[in-house]
Symmetry: D2
Subunit: 351 residues, 4 copies
Amino acid sequence: MIVAMTAGAPASATEAVLAAARAAGLEARAMSDGHGGALVGIHGTLDVEALRLSGIAGIQPKHKPYMLASREHRPHAPTVVKVGDVRIGGGRPVVMAGPCVVEGRETLLETAIAVKVAGADMLRGGAFKPRTSPYSFQGLGEAGLQHLAAARDATGLPVVTEVMEPESVDLVANYADMLQIGSRNMANFPLLRRAGQTRKPILLKRGFSATVEEWLMSAEYILAAGNPNVILCERGIRGFDPAFRFTLDLNAVPLLRELTHLPVIVDPSHGTGKRSLVSRMAIAGLAAGADGLMIEVHPDPEVAMCDGLQTITPADLSAIIRSGRALQTALLDAALDQDKSLVELPVALSA
Amino acid sequence: MIVAMTAGAPASATEAVLAAARAAGLEARAMSDGHGGALVGIHGTLDVEALRLSGIAGIQPKHKPYMLASREHRPHAPTVVKVGDVRIGGGRPVVMAGPCVVEGRETLLETAIAVKVAGADMLRGGAFKPRTSPYSFQGLGEAGLQHLAAARDATGLPVVTEVMEPESVDLVANYADMLQIGSRNMANFPLLRRAGQTRKPILLKRGFSATVEEWLMSAEYILAAGNPNVILCERGIRGFDPAFRFTLDLNAVPLLRELTHLPVIVDPSHGTGKRSLVSRMAIAGLAAGADGLMIEVHPDPEVAMCDGLQTITPADLSAIIRSGRALQTALLDAALDQDKSLVELPVALSA
Amino acid sequence: MIVAMTAGAPASATEAVLAAARAAGLEARAMSDGHGGALVGIHGTLDVEALRLSGIAGIQPKHKPYMLASREHRPHAPTVVKVGDVRIGGGRPVVMAGPCVVEGRETLLETAIAVKVAGADMLRGGAFKPRTSPYSFQGLGEAGLQHLAAARDATGLPVVTEVMEPESVDLVANYADMLQIGSRNMANFPLLRRAGQTRKPILLKRGFSATVEEWLMSAEYILAAGNPNVILCERGIRGFDPAFRFTLDLNAVPLLRELTHLPVIVDPSHGTGKRSLVSRMAIAGLAAGADGLMIEVHPDPEVAMCDGLQTITPADLSAIIRSGRALQTALLDAALDQDKSLVELPVALSA
Amino acid sequence: MIVAMTAGAPASATEAVLAAARAAGLEARAMSDGHGGALVGIHGTLDVEALRLSGIAGIQPKHKPYMLASREHRPHAPTVVKVGDVRIGGGRPVVMAGPCVVEGRETLLETAIAVKVAGADMLRGGAFKPRTSPYSFQGLGEAGLQHLAAARDATGLPVVTEVMEPESVDLVANYADMLQIGSRNMANFPLLRRAGQTRKPILLKRGFSATVEEWLMSAEYILAAGNPNVILCERGIRGFDPAFRFTLDLNAVPLLRELTHLPVIVDPSHGTGKRSLVSRMAIAGLAAGADGLMIEVHPDPEVAMCDGLQTITPADLSAIIRSGRALQTALLDAALDQDKSLVELPVALSA
């Protein structure tokens, strides 16, 4: 159940609800309602009325299994995650770009400058890489993290990079502005719990065969551990057609709008596996309502150490960003010009 | 192999190549190259040079298994299919809308007028319906076709409707402007062959578990039987997430641009199965480069006899069309304003 | 609803129920309960009690959407389909074997004799073949049917062959003992209805992306049209692993035992797509409880005109049949030797 | 490449090859060929002949990407993993049974005795459980491990239990005889590497959407880290039919026989998700050639804390084991009685 506290209720009122729940053996957690008010999520049923606690505005007895991640939890205030000066979920789509893997300090710096010039908001790059083969290059490790930090210092772009195991969360968090949990680790619950114990923003990629509900339950692990800064990233699901590495599931984007208050971004690089499809699917992702894009970019994709087939150039990125901005303006104007049925289009286009 | 005839070669030259191929026991077919020239597709290898035939400009020995449907066959002239005054594939997206099933003359006429006012270019509606259960309503049959013809006469909208078996092709073709072959019949080869023997435009929906290559091979059946007027319709693939009836595979749209000269449209109604996702996925389909949309519309979706959960209102349709037009203009302007990398965006946006 | 008639009720009592249902605008059909009694399946709800009809033993108001195919319809009498002297579903597994496609009279006869010697009960072979490419060999047509009939006359093996369109049902039924409806046509409803109008046994293959419920609904089309002689054939579903052409879904076999009274056979040739896996998966299919096997066999698989990669030799078939008989005897003995939990194993092993 | 050492070559010869490879910057690892000889797997190409090293019997330049796991690596000596006195892969199928999750000392002991009486060879049970919801019971942790050890001491059954993160490998290895890596962690590479640094047998479950090749690459991580004791467990893949929790992919069993020397077992509990299907699919798994079974068993499945719907009783288990033994004897007898085509049936039935 979810208990909404009255607007001016003191913190002690919220604490009393939490204490009552825990005394009854139920897990409970307080969260913001996004408007300055407080909510208490309780996993189970507590006879709140019988307890005669003060400061309670209302009770929602039934909800999704992912109670903290659910839209019902914050119906009027989608979550905006701040990464440095970048706001993810605030209406203006955000672009994260960079190489699949950090190859060295010079190449990374060159790429970082190029993606910044192209209009990107954040820099991505892998220092610890999950590779199918034990014999493939596994990333530069901490040296890669240092290069990312140096590229951030040089360009001002916040950096996002993957963390693969609970033991490395602190190390990666020392360098990065946002931690990525990759597709293969979406159901790595010890890692999710550990990520939930930091306050760093977490980019949670969808497992390539996870249902939307399973994905939200993984987000719930992070939220329930105390970290509200979760961003979801659709990156393609596994399908039956060998023509595609993965199938970008854009249906998930408008569905997530209905189900959750968390921001959603799209990764057309992994979602297609094919360079020539990335531009179109990036624009389609924004049209579907995404809050941003994550794209693999390399100055010379043909020689990239990893994922070259799906990597685009900075020039391609620049074209995507320009088209994306034009698209957003056009859809926004069309919405303002129309009747109620369009005003209900997702937040990203109405702000 | 594909044999290109010289620009001014007489018809007799083309016929000589066809005859030589057939004499060698190979299937062969002449087609337009879209620029006034002629091509001959030969299934197999013919030693053309040894034959000293005249009027041959060049030979392409290797090609896709779907030689007539392949982009190589018409690299510079995407196919435009004309249905009445409507041009599909000509750069301007086309919208086909209407009820899942024709329920009666009055309701259909009301819907036809409503979708025309909303901006649709064509009317859709089922007279023969493939239903999972033998006990479900199977459509009005020929009476439904008559209602469609009446609605066309009243509104001027060309009509598209499904044909389910070879024996019915002539009957349906008597009433409809375009024949639809549904997802469950994509690999109904006798039906494809029969449809190829008419000259009616054919809307070929993707089988919900067909690969893109299998889909193009089905188009090849129609082309090889002599009918060049084929439009492909992506309508969702079967996936593992019970949250969706089907998963709209927009990756297929830009891939088809590379592989074929045939027009491609998107059906976000079946591709989501959920009314609230249709608008966003329609716009995303256009952003992915589709030549048009097919959408289920009913004046009162809650009482529709079929597929009500995925059917939208005429007001929703109007909003989609306005947003779609704005999107196309914006993407076109962005493309004109940019460097070469964007000029190569698909035809639909550059014309 | 399903209405069970009393044991000795006259035909007129059953007809009265049918008439009452139809008078109420409901589809209704009489069927045997497998024990000499009669049942009436009514699609909808009829207030039978108010009608005071005689000869009614009981009413089952709720049932599966496939009421005629459901186990509830014949809980104690699984259907046995007779094809010539062969009984499918009677406890003893049945083996159908032969080439993918009929290549010629001599080769077919040689194969027919070889599979008979190996222990097969029926001969399979395609005269009309659904091929992905319009340029592939499509079968010999009626000549192929004649060869099949000749092979039957020579060996005594009943023959099963595919029919692809409604118009051909009568032609194929003139020659074949059992009609096969292939995977790509499982949802070809006009074909199902037409097959339901004959009394020939129908082998209904599962669509390679059909759910078990959709498959049973397709069987229901045939049953509802009046033909009770339906056999289901699991032949592999489409999956994500390129290592397999299809994934044989043996889970479906014991599930179908619970859901339907119809016999179930397994096709390990299409279900694996790989010759070296066929033997093991054939035996596994029997262990899962199948009533029989359909296997592609050719005297020289390397030169087979179709599906050679998944075709085995008559010697392989002989080994499979011997192992299969040994397995069945062993499981039956084990069952007789044990407590109730095993006595409830499917019929095929307890008879 | 793989370098085979001559039969009597001294260890120094093998070390010389290893040293030469590493000097050339290539990963290299020595392994037993299963017949007392040595092999060196080198990831890359080394000009061994030019090096004039002694004791080399032959070179295999091309092989699967999983060189240590590949059948080519040990073509004549399938790996047998010993867990206490239990031999997995030695021809006699092994049965691991027990509750999904350890619920308490008394219940576990009761279950352990019951599965031993039923004929099981090993006890399974979860102390650390991966759960989709953060609010579900996550297992008893170390207390659960202690209960497992106590049950082993009381019954003599070796125990297998899951480990979820690298940090816990030593803890779990202190109590368990075999470590399980679950489906959701098949691509948790830090965990695989850490498991490879122990010498404990590792049960590696297939990721529910992993290809067979990806699965073998994960096994390669463990082997390449130095632990040769890997057992593969097929436990069902994710499909499109809501009738099943997962689809048991028995095709994988005979395919793995061709590709790898590692033992393969089958888990029909997760592979079906439905109690009534477990017995049949267990037997089918053995018929497909599996070296053993892992089955969820609880004295009272209806009150099990986890996975009750797919859990069977000890009486069901007893029936499965009896049928399994009968099946194996029958198939072995049939094989001995037949020609070469059956003698090549997998090892599990010929020893």
